[in-house]
Symmetry: C2
Subunit: 243 residues, 2 copies
């Protein structure tokens, strides 16, 4: 992990950009922390630059609550080399949604599985590097982003202690076996009237999770209209499981 830049934000937050091999990422920590703190990995739909305003707001909130926060770019997004097959699948999905057609599982698999297969090991390598830093120990939470990545990560990565999932992207039916193997506490957010999403698939996925503590929060407001109070609920969820 090579730190490539550093700056100081408001509220005593230290922001460091890094690269891990070819993968760019950002780490946010408190300048004031004297002891190692738990870590929250911030998921996103891809495109760290485009998502930066929202990511930094989430990160500042994490740091204010006593966590470190970090994110990495997704495979094929931002400045990383494109994944032609994934781009094609994304275009196919958009066309199906716009035409009001059902989104075939083949499209979902072509879009999501490469991101999972390549992205999950990248998150794990990032976790290795972050947990080697003296300012971070654990436990580790995963918050939001491509839900299929979070699901697979929750299965294969024992250092993830709890996760908030945003049911705002597709999950291949073939990954329901992964979902059944998840046992960590989950808070699943579903925008009930999200036009670009499959509500029944999200409900079936929630049902499939093997976790004894799993909570679904459904709200109105469309894909981008998650109510502000859900941020507080997420904070309390991580407060229960990471502190």
């Amino acid at each position: 992990m090579d730190f490539t830049s550093e700056r100081r934000l408001d509220d005593g937050v230290r922001e460091r950009e890094f690269t891990l091999g070819e993968i760019p990422g950002i780490l946010w920590t408190s300048e004031a922390a004297s002891e190692p703190v738990p870590l929250i990995l911030l998921g996103h739909p891809g495109g760290v630059g485009r998502m930066y305003p929202r990511l930094v707001a989430r990160a500042q909130r994490c740091v204010a609550l006593g966590y470190a926060a970090a994110t990495i770019e997704l495979p094929g997004s931002g400045d990383r080399p494109r994944l032609a097959d994934v781009d094609q699948a994304r275009a196919d999905l958009r066309r199906a949604v716009q035409a009001g057609e059902p989104v075939g599982d083949d499209i979902v698999e072509r879009l999501i599985l490469p991101l999972v297969d390549q992205g999950v090991p990248e998150w794990r390598a990032t976790l290795d590097a972050l947990l080697a830093l003296p300012e971070i120990d654990g436990p580790v939470g995963f918050a939001g982003g491509v839900i299929a990545i979070a699901v697979r990560l929750a299965v294969v990565e024992p250092r993830i202690a709890a996760a908030t999932l945003f049911a705002g992207s597709y999950v291949p039916r073939s990954m329901f076996d992964d979902a059944r193997q998840v046992t960590i506490p989950l808070l699943v957010l579903l925008q009930w009237d999200d036009e670009g999403n499959d509500r029944q698939l999200a409900l079936d996925l929630f049902d499939a999770f093997g976790s004894k503590e799993k909570t679904l929060h459904a709200n109105m407001g469309g894909h981008t209209g998650v109510p502000q109070f859900e941020g507080d609920d997420g904070d309390r969820f991580f407060g229960r499981h990471l502190k």
Copy 2:
């Protein structure tokens, strides 16, 4: 409204039993309050005596947060005259559930509609009497209980400003028209693995509500296993809408 007994609980809570005509009820207020406070009506499945330990705990919590709290007995429950047709429907429902048969809508209608038709005007009359007391003004919240009663009350009673609903009892499909007319903020609790309930009906009902702000919280733990943190979430919901 005739007060029939009064006692002082811990934490400065004043508990008064009352009757409103034939209907027994309980009012909890703070001894310390110097100004009129908002009111939360505490719903329950019927049987105030049997439910008292849980009701008084909820009431003490309400009073600590700056509300008055009140409840009344349901038609046909507790010491009130039995409703033979409702008792028969309840027995039919139990038999169907135990036999693993689908619960027919005719059973649900025979069980629920009499409670709604008789109970809702009783809650409204209680509200008239409570809001005439100098220690209570408004707004008014409704919390839990027979969900069909809360739904009808939310439609016909403009003084109800917000409601937390427990999707733990049946609602006749004929009442979905009521649900579509509900416009107040709702927090709907669903126990995902509630064996004695119809999950799909609860999801369809949540979908039907006309409210712009409606939130569904689904958890594991069976009918009686609502997690403790949901109490905090309910407090915050009423805090946003009644204060």
